[in-house]
Structure formats: C-alpha cells, structure tokens
C-alpha cells in the first residue's frame, strides 16, 4: 500500500503567507482608492500556489472511492459507470456555453434535444408526456404529488390521505407531507410485496388521494399485483405515483405507464448515467399519464404551432402547477442522458435492464448458501441479504461492510430497507462484467467464512478497514459534534 496520499488537511491550514496562484498584468490606469470599503477586514483566504491547489484537490479525489476505481454495489443507488462519451457531448460549445436566457430561436438545438429526450423517455416508460424540469428525483417526486393534488382539486375533490407501502422509498413520506397529505403506511406481505387487502380496506372511505408505490420495491421484488392496485385506486377516484428509482430493472422489459401509473420520476443519475452526487446539479424528470398533462410545470417544449419547423417554450398553460426550477432545469444532465440512450439504442437499453437483473440473480444464487436471504425468490436488479447467521457469532452487518473495504470493494447498502433486520442490499448494475461480479461473490463468501470462525471479531473484523488512508471512523461523532465550516477547526 502506497503511503501517498496519506493524509490531507484543509487548504486554509496549508496557507503560506506570500504564496499566490495568479499573476495580473501591470496597472495601466491611474491607481485610485475605493471610495468606501464595505468590509472591515480582509477576507481570510488561503495563500497557495496554483500547484498546491491542484495537489490538494487531486489528493481529495484520490481519498474518495468511485466507480472508476472499483465495484460499487450500493443497493438502491444504481452506481453505473458514466460513459466518457457523455462528457464529450455535454462539453460541446453550443451546449456548454448556451446562456439560459438565450431566446428560443437561437437555442433550437438545445430545445430539439430536450424535445427528443422527452419522447425517448416517454417511449421507454410508457407515459404520455415527460417534463425534464425537476432538479433531482426527490423534486420530481414532490412535483408528481403536487400535480396529483392539483388534478383532484380541479375535480372538486378534497382528499387528505396518501398510502405508502413499507417497501417504498424513504423520501416518499416527505413529499406527501410537503403537499399537505397524511401518510397511511401499508404493510408488506410475507412475500415482501405491498398488501393488496390492506390497500383495499384503507381506500374504502374515499378520502385517499392515491398511493406512492416503488416498483420494483426496496427489497428488489416486482410488485406483481401492480395492475390490480392501479385499477382499484382509479376505481376509487385516486391516482398513482410510482417511485422511479428502480427503473433500471424495467428498462425495455416493462413500462410503468402501461401498468396504469399516473406519474413517475426518473433518476437520471441512476438509470441514465449522469454523474452521482457532488451536490448536483442533477436532473429528475417526471413522466405523466394523459390525466395529468394539463398540470405539467411551465414551460413545456412544443413544436411551433405556427407550422414552422422549430420548437418553442410554451408558458401559457392555465392549469399548470407552475415552475419547480428556474429556466428549464439542468440542461447538460439532459445532454448526458440523451447521449446514453442514443448510444445504446433500443436493443442496448433492453439489454442493460436484462443484464442488471441477471447479475443480481447470479449474486443471489452464489451468496444464498452463505448469507441469510430476506426473500427467497427471483429478484429484480438488486438482492437483499441479512447478517442473521453471522450475528449469532457476534459479527454484524456493519463489520461485514467495513471488512469489504479492505478487499477493494465499496460496501453494499447497509441497514436499508428497514423492514429487513441487519440488511445488506446488493445492486451490481449491468456495468460489471461477470468476472468482476464473481470476484465480489468470492470475497463475500470468504468474509462469511471468517465471520463464523472462533474469535472472529478479534481475528478478522476489529479496526477495519486497515488498508485505506482513513481507517475506522467514529460513525456518530460527526452527528454529535457538528463542525460545519473550517472556522470550527481553528
């Protein structure tokens, strides 16, 4: 293990008086003092050379684990490889330098790309229309519920409740709440699916605005009764939102729009290979059924109604819920998603979904003899195990996760979903080859074996990880002693 980069510190603490990273041309106008100085003291900026700054950020990036460095089977997150061609297209001058206030007739290329991306997503998901405006999946989710509310109010209905199965994604409750709904949880059946009988019971009173369902759900299973559920909710006057975070499993296999769903968000960073994390900018489009089209946020992209062969942004939509994001969302993310879909083509998109499912099931079969499986049946794009067997010998999910880091793998998602005690949730995505997935399985099997040995914790799991720059971190310290800015470290 190389001892570089070993540790790093804040750039402000590396500051050396007199060092600078810029050179200005000599002054060619008479020097004049500023009339008044707004700030009392000089800002405390680090004094560093350009190379020191480059090294600082390079070091930080090397301390991070990324899909470019190794397998990242973080369940529910769809950590796909981001093809480099996406970076090529999104850096084209005409896209990258386009000002958001450019008049429509000078931005035709961008409008055309967005128009086609909306159509491609509609085709893939079976929805009547798509809006690309939301800046993230969670905002798409919020927008979906806002539109459901607007639609029900336009029908003169005041419904107050939303159903959310326990196997749905964690953010759903927050979106429902922000839109003024009371959340009614729906329990899971022994088979890991949403309980239809309870949905039937809870919707009898007629005060349920709809259901927020995740499909495939968070335990990686396809909700086989989805059409029965959408039929029932529609019959009783409600609407259906689907959490699209797990869309990867449906690519080219089935379409949520065809199953009677009224709206679903897309996580472009999961399904369509835009970058993960970094705090954004993100893109989380929303697909909607015919029923919800009038309520789409403004502007929408339309073919010019005058018959000219160009595109316009339409702002006049009387029933629209309004804007959720300035301009039209984060355009360069759309360029990346569009590039990915066009690069793969229809056959490639279908193969991506099928391969993701196949690899998850390969892992399921390989690891089943070694880890307790939460629901023993064919899974979709991810599979959930638990630490039940290892825990009997004192080895917990967290220990297994930390142990894997020393083997060069990012750990799976742990302790989620909450309905599985000590969950280990694995999602390989189609990015990985069979041989790298097999290597991961062999490592998991080795660790399972270590966990059953006598004195296993002391021998194999204590103080892990040992072979990375930062070893076992205190998981709660950051939550208990908040240090949010560099000033807290001074």
């Amino acid at each position: 293990m190389s001892n570089w980069p070993l540790k790093t510190t804040l750039s402000i603490l590396q500051s050396t008086p007199g060092h600078e990273g810029f050179s200005l041309p000599s002054l060619d106008v008479p020097e004049a003092p500023a009339p008044t100085r707004a700030r009392a003291a000089k800002p405390k900026l680090p004094e560093l050379s350009e190379l020191s700054v480059v090294r600082h950020f390079t070091r930080l990036s090397q301390l991070n684990f990324s899909i470019d460095g190794g397998m990242y089977p973080l369940g529910s997150c769809t950590m796909k490889y981001n093809p480099r061609v996406n970076e090529l297209t999104s850096s084209f001058r005409g896209f990258a330098r386009l000002h958001p206030l450019t008049p429509d007739h000078f931005a035709q290329g961008a409008l055309e790309l967005m128009f086609h991306l909306e159509n491609l997503l509609s085709e893939i998901s079976g929805f009547a229309r798509v809006s690309l405006q939301p800046a993230a999946g969670a905002q798409g989710e919020y927008l979906g519920i806002k539109m459901i509310r607007a639609c029900l109010e336009a029908r003169g209905e005041k419904r107050t409740k939303i159903l959310i199965p326990e196997s749905a994604h964690g953010t759903n409750g927050a979106s429902a709440s922000m839109c003024g709904y009371t959340v009614l949880p729906v329990r899971g059946t022994e088979a890991g699916l949403a309980d239809f009988a309870q949905i039937e019971e809870l919707t009898r009173a007629g005060d349920v605005a709809g259901i927020m369902i995740t499909n495939p759900n968070t335990v990686g299973l396809f909700e086989t009764e989805i059409q029965k559920i959408t039929q029932l909710i529609h019959d009783r006057g409600g609407l259906i939102y689907c959490d699209g975070a797990n869309m990867n499993a449906m690519l080219g296999v089935t379409r949520p729009g065809d199953a009677g769903i009224d709206c679903m968000h897309f996580n472009m960073h999961k399904t369509f290979t835009t970058p993960h994390g970094g705090g954004g900018p993100g893109c989380g489009g929303l697909g909607v059924s015919k029923t919800l089209i009038p309520f789409l946020p403004v502007p929408t992209i339309e073919k010019n109604p005058s018959g000219a062969d160009d595109f316009i942004l339409e702002h006049e939509r009387p029933q629209s819920v309004g804007k959720v994001k300035d301009h039209y969302g984060h355009f360069l993310m759309m360029v990346r998603a569009y590039t990915y879909i066009r690069e793969l083509g229809a056959d490639g998109i279908q193969k991506a979904g099928r391969d993701a499912i196949l690899l998850a099931n390969y892992i399921r079969e390989r690891l089943k003899p070694h880890y307790d499986i939460a629901y023993d049946k064919t899974c979709m794009h991810e599979v959930v195990f638990s630490d039940k067997r290892q825990n009997k010998n004192g080895i917990k999910t967290l220990d297994i996760a930390k142990r894997l880091i020393d083997e060069g793998f990012h750990p799976p998602t742990i302790y989620f979903p909450l309905i599985v005690q000590g969950a280990l949730m694995i999602e390989p995505t189609e990015t990985e080859s069979l041989s790298s997935v097999e290597k991961f399985c062999e490592t998991m099997i080795k660790v399972a074996g270590e966990a059953l040995e006598e004195n296993a914790f002391e021998k194999h799991f204590k103080d892990r990880p040992r072979h990375v720059a930062f070893g076992r971190v205190n998981e709660t310290l950051a939550a208990k002693q908040l240090k949010l800015t560099w000033k807290d470290l001074e």
Binding site: L398, Y415, F416, L418, Q421, E475, T476, A479, K480
Partner: protein, 128 residues
Amino acid sequence: MSQILKDLLYTKEHEWVRRTSNTRVVQVGITDFAQSSLGDVTYLDIPAVGTSLKQNQVFGSIESVKSVSELFAPVSGKIVKRNEALVNDPAPINASPYAEGWLVEIEISDESELTKLMSPESYESVAQ
C-alpha cells in the same frame, strides 16, 4: 442475547415501563434489544414536561446512525419529568438503557392500561 429485566413491563415497540415509588408515576425507556438494533444514538427528540399523551401515540423520535425511529407512549398520561442529560448527550441510551438512559416519567391517567403491557416473558419472544 439482549438483556430483559424481570421487574419491568414492556411494549411490542421495544419500550420498557418501570413503576416508581409514586404509584401514579412510571418511568419509560427503550430496551436493550432496541438500543442494540438501533446502533449508536445520535439525537433524541422528546416533548416538554406537561405534555399529555395517549397510549400508543407517537410522542417523540430517536435517531441513530442507521435510522430515525418513533417513540410510542406505552400509557396515557402527562409527562412529569424528562431525562434532560440525554438532550445534550444521548450516549447513556446505548450504555445503560435500563438505568441512566431512561427517557421520561409519565403520570398515568388510566392505571388499567398497565395490564395491556407485556410481561418480561412475553417480551422475550418479540426481542429477537
């Protein structure tokens, strides 16, 4: 194996109830099983003294590195005391769930509700 004290009553939501010297007042906390499943507790949210509670009502939340869980009132009544020390440092909930990690004391409004709670023996089947 998590610890279950013989002199306490329990709920299926993994809370314990202890009768105090004042027959009207009970002390409430979370069980050893609950603290070990939650992992290190980072934050506790409990209502002020004087708050009225109904049995099974959500009255607060407890946050750990893994998740945020709700606290359910084991009995109806009024909060007469809360463990102020935990607000700044909830660590005793993990280190000493049955003693220093107690959460609140409730003045019971309906004693018959105590009969609806679980015995240590029946709680044992839930805590695994």
